[in-house]
Amino acid sequence: MPMVRWLALLPFLGMLVGPFFVNRVAPYILGMPFLPAWFVAWILITAAIVAVIFRYDPANREERE
């Protein structure tokens, strides 16, 4: 398995382990309490991570017609 695919584990850490440590209201980020802001940040990071995996995954190059 290509090494880059292991990055996919990070969103699970951020969203499943994260809440145990960041379950708080302050500080507010962009007007949002910290916990929802944390999740929004992780959604953005997740999209970026999957994009990186997509870019470097050899599986996608083989299939390009």
Binding site: A8, F20, V25, G31, L35, F39, I43, T46, A47, I49
Partner: protein
Amino acid sequence: MNAALLGIAAAALLALGLGFLAGRGRQMGLEQWTVAGRSFGAPLVFLLMAGEIYTTFTFLGGSGLAYGRGGPVYYILCYATLAYVMSYFLLPPIWQYGKENGLYSQPDFFVSKYDSPMLGVVVSLVGIVALIPYLVLQFKGLGIIVEAAGYGAIRSTAAVWIGAAVATACVMVSGVRGSAWTAVAKDTMILLVVVFLGIYFPLHYYGGLAPMFAAIEQVKPGFTVLPERGESASWFSSTVLLTALGFYMWPHTFGSIYTARNTRVIRQNAVVLPLYQLILLFVFLVGFAAILQVPDLRGPEVDLALFKLSVKPFDPWLVGVIGAAGVLTALVPGSMILMAAATLLANNIYRVIHRSAGDIRVLNIAKLLVPVIALVAVYFTLQGGQTIVALLLMGYSFVTQLFLSLVLSLGRNRWVTREGAAAGIVAGVVTVAAISLTHATIGTLFPALPVAITELNVGIVALAVNTFVLVVVSLGTKFVTARHSLPVPAVDPPSRPA
């Protein structure tokens, strides 16, 4: 007829029109009807997959949950995001295998992998028991939306009948293409409506996000994060994980995987779909905005938070647009569920009984079953009652029980037997039902455990029972067949390159 009703009627007609046009000029064989001939590019697959997430549950339930329970609502944001990450790895092999073996439905996959039509029947039954309440929920939501957005001019009963008729007609004529093209209209509208409302309400009522959250914090401290007890971080993480595992196990979601043109389309969508999750944030903001503005909603009324808030400041035509978007969010998933349920019954149950039935016969049976299933759902919708809510809560846990035997069938080294897979699924489903009916929690089952564990989602117990039974029965059947030294075609030959 008032301006709001006009918008809603237009939405229904639009859905009907798109649904009919979508299948035009195509020979509707079983493969066209169920999986659109495996021809969809990234945009349509995206809309189908997104179409399943943004249901009336998201629209009404998402805002209602933010309004009524606060912080725990974020679990919706997280589970789908993680499911999309998994989809990058999980779906391409499923698609590949489906293409090579000409599969149409989710049970087909189990039938083929485990070489057991009976396992297909088990999976179909689990799917149907989970799908019907989901369909009822869509119809119920549709009724609520039309009644609220039409200022009571159309009773929800009438709306439910009309909605069911529209969905039935679209599905019978165009199959999955109808759902996909209606989804184009639906997602455009819902995107505009939800983003607008999510920005407008906090600004209009509070002057911005920060003042809104500060005001909520004053009245209900800690409401916008997870509580210390009950729906705590333990509950949150375990629920997110379990729901993410079950995400693609819904028969209609699984079916939409097959519509993709190639696996690249699926991987591409795994990049974009997490971003689409952010729309949910705006739904939550509407619910949060309602907390201090319409403070007295109780029980099932919380689902009306969005509409109660909208009817106050907006002109009827704008309420109509919101209602129209709401109607479409019920019709798209509703039609997909109808089609999936009909396909399961015709392709995986009827065909097992009548082995000689060809594709054309199966397709005709499936089409005939669409109105039957719609009628059953309408019956439960109008009959009301809490049973269906209980069933729905069980539904997600039911389909999650399919995850294990699915994933274990993908690997090269296949030690799970068909008996093991079936026994595991049945054991898991029975455990879910027992837990739900007795309202057990890990705390009541094992009171001695620390709080961090007792607040885990009780679905974990069902999955553990499922795993245990699957392993024991698989090893047991392997052992017995080995002793009798029969040739064992328990699973298809593992020579397939992964």
